[in-house]
């Protein structure tokens, strides 16, 4: 991994069109500004991890279990 030291306000370029600006650093919290083209998704890693986790738990859903879960959730809300 490439490790760089930066001060607040300084910038790192990745390729020609991604710009990372260090905005501030205060008591262990670093604020970072990111400029990237629209087609490059930028999200916190935890978001990816959570989505991967949810996809994995959905991938092998059992149809019978799902049918039971659906039960009266959508259609027959009048049922008791």
């Amino acid at each position: 991994m490439l490790v760089l030291s930066r001060k607040s306000g300084e910038v790192i370029n990745i390729g020609n069109n991604i710009r990372i600006t260090i905005i501030s650093s205060d008591r262990g919290i670093v604020r970072v500004g990111i400029d990237a083209p629209k087609d490059i998704p930028v999200h916190r890693k935890e978001v990816y991890d959570k989505i991967i986790e949810m996809n994995k738990s959905a991938a092998k859903t059992n149809a019978a279990d799902l049918r039971n879960a659906i039960g009266n959730t959508f259609a027959q809300k009048t049922e008791e």
Partner: protein, 285 residues
Amino acid sequence: MSQTKSEGAMLRTPDFGDISFSGNHVFTFSEGLHGFEHLRKFILIAEEATEPFKWLISIENPAIGFALINPGHIDQNYTIGEPLGENVVPMVIVALVNDALGTTTNMKAPILFDCSAMTGQQILLSGSNYSHTHQLARQQDGAGVVQTTSIRRLYTSQFGVLDVASDNILTFSEGLLGFEKLREFVLISIDETEPMKWLVSIEEPSIGFPLLSPWIIDADYDLRNSYDPSTQAAFVVVTLVNPQGKMSANMKAPVLISGDHTGKQIILNSDKYSPTYEINRSKSA
């Protein structure tokens, strides 16, 4: 009588009658076959009438038999991309699709038989150009033009056999998050789980994601900048949270399917939407 482990046994099959075999002819598939993960023990038989095809018969469910052929019969240069071990023989699954298309073989997912360890494994040649539906015997129409629509037959444990026309295959060029290697899917629905749909992997038919229209959950769901309602359909992936029937939907990462049969899962920037949005509560007992 009680110690018959390696002695002869009898398999009663609907298609081949009674087959006697001994324990050391049994191939163990520790992971089953795609779509049949629960079947682990098979025997390989040959019939004179159907040579050079072989038949892989499930011991646990003798009604299930796969026709196999050595891919070398079809393509002399067939390779799985790495050297085969000693005593390892590749075979591919043959499917009789229909009268028009004839017979296809799944060249992309060969089964490797290790004849010394007596194990079998179905692998997926992910980087290869081989097809799941390589045509063995092509039939041409009157004009001599080969039909372009083909059928892929999927064997799924949940939905049975699915015959998917190539026109209905959705390509996800980046896969889904966590499943980047799976690129081809089909969207199906079954009555009993309406209004949900299922996004079933062509490459690995045991994988199917339940999908739901996000607007059924949240009438104000906002995809404004990410999707074009005139050419795309949007879904969210549903997860069964617990055996009591609690479900959640991933509102943060909807799946978009376009009219040109491509799909992708995107991540919304808005913090308004949760990957674990609760759809319902657990059923009360």
